[in-house]
Symmetry: C2
Subunit: 316 residues, 2 copies
Amino acid sequence: MQNKLDKPAEGLGITAVERDTGLSKDILRVWERRYGFPLPARDHNGDRLYPPEQVDKLRLIRRLLDLGRRPSSVVTLDAGTLAAMLDSAATALAPEGDPDSATHDRLIELLRLQRSAELRIALHQLLLKHGLQRFVCDTVAPLNIRVGQAWMRGDIDVAEEHLYTEQVQNVLRSAIGAQAATDGRPRILLTTLPDELHALGLLMAEATLVPEGAVCVSLGTQTPITDICNAASSGDFDIVALSCSAAFPARSAIDGLNTLRAALPAAIELWAGGQAVQGKAARLPGVRVIADLPDALVALAEWRSAQRAAISRPRA
Amino acid sequence: MQNKLDKPAEGLGITAVERDTGLSKDILRVWERRYGFPLPARDHNGDRLYPPEQVDKLRLIRRLLDLGRRPSSVVTLDAGTLAAMLDSAATALAPEGDPDSATHDRLIELLRLQRSAELRIALHQLLLKHGLQRFVCDTVAPLNIRVGQAWMRGDIDVAEEHLYTEQVQNVLRSAIGAQAATDGRPRILLTTLPDELHALGLLMAEATLVPEGAVCVSLGTQTPITDICNAASSGDFDIVALSCSAAFPARSAIDGLNTLRAALPAAIELWAGGQAVQGKAARLPGVRVIADLPDALVALAEWRSAQRAAISRPRA
DNA sequence: TTTTGCATTTTGTCCTGGACAAATGTTGAC
DNA sequence: GTCAACATTTGTCCAGGACAAAATGCAAAA
């Protein structure tokens, strides 16, 4: 029942470190046992007290883990080496030129200063200027990468990353709400596999498809497979679209998608997008793999022309 | 590394129960040790496997804890008794008549069906109809109570409660964004004490004050006291307004507020709102306790007339 | 009567060190 | 190159002990 109102802090408690780094208490304790790091001081009661340097290093390690490295290969390295690894990874991540680089720099700066209202207004203006679809492709998508880089570099922390997500969601939601039809075709059920979060990706897909007259219903994240099937059948949907982010293990994604494909009526198409399924089309028979947001529009056009063909030549 | 993609579930694992009930793994284990409930089955590996009935009962207990009861007084009771207690508590919570009862019923129903887009649209229409301030007082505030009741009664679950918060935030944020000035007076810094969440309360306060020409900057939740002081001084603020929800221990709130009052320049007013500080004005010298949202407008008028007096009679 | 101070109980969190299975990496056969 | 079998790494769970913050009850003072 410790309640640290103000933390005079020659160190942080294990709960604070869990919040700061995203590494669970169990993880922090088991690493200490296995690798000898982190090795926190103790308060009068024997509770762990992590010095700021160790917390900083844990943050670096956390970012490298997100990039796919494994704990045993990074916990023993010193902070300088870790920072160098992150730096090279960050530059490798976005080699391609970003035409609106200056604009995006300005948005990141607003985020860094936590000026949430101004960030929202700036985003909204870009939306008005370019329209919903181009806003998602040319602004939100590159910004996601930029925010990821800034977080890796330590320029922003979790709270600011969350603030970014929230403001983008606000802007996208109101835009989608303004355009939403209730009786178009196809009807698309958007969701993710269980244990997957990644709500922003779903929203970006919705923002891309809704202006084309598709009716999108988002089932939210964390939906069990059986619930997806039930909702798809009873809601008169034409397409079920899943988003599988990189954080989700690719093998589970493939298994889950094949399970879902088998459980779903053949008349309902199954689309899958996201990092976890890229290049896995061969192992996903009957699943339309979506490469990126523009490809979702291609898939939509394909569905429509297939529908037209079926109508002009019924029961061929 | 258990990853339950689909849970055939003759029971839920401890992680799933933690997510479902909001009771931490430590709590679940220590209650089992102390009170003999819950007493889950075990899988082949000795891991806890909670049968659905026990999870249901845990959910009831959780709601009663939120109402202020203590674990020892409820864990031993049977499910029927718990449900009865919740029911009487729910009816006792809102004795006063709600003039827009029917409208609010409809909104709750939309929430229960997870029709998020329609909920957002309905909220937005009410906002347009009544204006921002009345919308907050007459719609959002009673709806908060209704949602709380529905959650107690088990009509809605955590996901739906979250969805409600999100949609209300969307609507309020865009309305505030549309009205926000950048150079009015007073300049108000809105935030909460560390370890307090309650973002919706802040937003409601902002929505009440912004239409009066005040400039509100929200520092977000979880801000350390020193940071509040720095931000208040360097940002040229006239007022610092804190929100302290009922979930926050009253004693900590009083201590924190007095600390903050001492640390803050005398020229900057300190306002405190929320359940935790009601009736505690006597123990908070130099702090303006805000009773409810309309009272915030009274406080604002008082500040302005005090300012006028100071200007017409400078250096009295 | 209402508040204030103190003793007692309740309660949540943290601790250690062990265990195991899922995830990942590696090797070798086809 | 693909796939299976094997080895290693890694996250989560377990038990049961400990302790301090929070809540409660009760006395004395205002």
